[in-house]
Point group: C2
Chain length 229, copies 2
């Protein structure tokens, strides 16, 4: 069997990144990159490690980055997480306070750096621009621009390697992502989406929970999440 090419997969422990990892590993040998950035829902990191283990990923890196020193987001500062917003409102009424300033620029930078170290040229990120919160750094035009910047700003890039950022979920609805993940064997019970967990259980009311619940409903699949409400 031909040896698979290496790739770096950004893994948060959420539904999207777990699906993205399952897609990536069908064609690549994944190294997972998890970022411990001081997120309110730090429980997702343990879930990320569980997801990676269940998919038999051999190389999982956890990088600590103290984004609380920068703040400015409900996920990294003392700002309330919005609750009980309708799924129609999410993503259509401006960028919410859960936006973490320039997060994907930083995370993709770290992923591209790790690519150089392990000799990979491919990064996978589970961004989605359909059932999403309207974060600017989840949109395809950002991803394409980042790819060009990485090409110019890395040793690998200037030496001729073609760096590629894959965003395979970009145009899919949450229901489509779930169906695709199930085909690839994702166990969604292991994933965590909630921004504001209550004793480890999902709050059921933040934007991330609302989009997740709607996704399972629309996919006609039982939602394995333990919700507090």
């Amino acid at each position: 069997m031909k040896k698979k090419k290496k790739a770096v997969v950004l893994l948060s422990g959420g539904l999207d990144s777990a699906t993205c990892l399952a897609i990536a590993r069908a064609k690549f040998d994944p190294t997972c990159l998890c970022i411990d950035y001081g997120q309110r829902h730090r429980v997702e990191l343990q879930r990320a490690e569980n997801v990676a283990r269940s998919m038999k990923v051999r190389d999982v890196r956890v990088v600590k980055l103290d984004l609380r020193a920068i703040g400015g987001s409900a996920l990294t500062a003392d700002i309330a997480v919005p609750k009980n917003r309708s799924s129609k409102k999410i993503g259509s009424t401006g960028i919410p306070v859960t936006y973490v300033p320039a997060r994907n620029t930083v995370f993709l930078g770290l992923a591209i750096g790790l690519c150089e170290v392990i000799g990979a040229t491919d990064v996978f990120i589970g961004v989605n621009a359909v059932d999403y919160s309207g974060y600017p750094d989840c949109r395809p035009e950002f991803i394409r621009s980042f790819e060009k910047t990485a090409q110019l700003g890395t040793k690998a890039g200037v030496q001729g390697a073609k760096l590629k950022v894959h965003a395979p979920l970009s145009g899919l609805s949450k229901a489509e992502i779930i169906r695709l993940g199930l085909k690839h064997g994702v166990d969604y019970a292991q994933t965590h989406s909630c921004y504001d967990p209550v004793n480890g259980a999902a709050c059921g009311r933040c934007d991330s929970c609302v989009l997740r619940r709607k996704g399972f409903e629309e996919a006609g699949v039982k939602d394995p999440t333990r919700y507090a409400t």
Copy 2:
């Protein structure tokens, strides 16, 4: 007096970033961003704080980021720092092992994120592409591309703010940077350039020391650095 606009200045504690800060504060109210990334020459962080204090900067942020979990550089892994290379060789024989994968992509990402939080649109970075080590992420084409990516990947950018990355030292020789810094009142005795310090003193032999020494010589200015050799 008109209130100055805010700007974020990436400050390492080195000669270039100290000069860059001095230039920035002539027109802007600077917030300094220092990154504690597990660098071998961690002593530079204390120097950065001293430099910022001497220039009366009120807001200095130190962000911890464990790049040792990624490694791949003589500055963040157990790889020897090259010594005794001639200044002609530095920058002309490929990218040296002191290159930190995608470092400026990550650092600029953090700086742009901080801009959004403090309500600034300008970032200053002391990159230089003349007397430098040949790092790809110090070149003007990278900086311009990053600026475009930041515009697309941030809340501030998509809401219409014009984000700008200033690299005022980009086309200057080290001697020109030193002369410019002295005009702006930089005390170079406070700065630290060495990649591999010996008990706090500069080694005098790494690429960074070689370029610094040559800069002071060419500028005809006494080098205030304490060298071990």
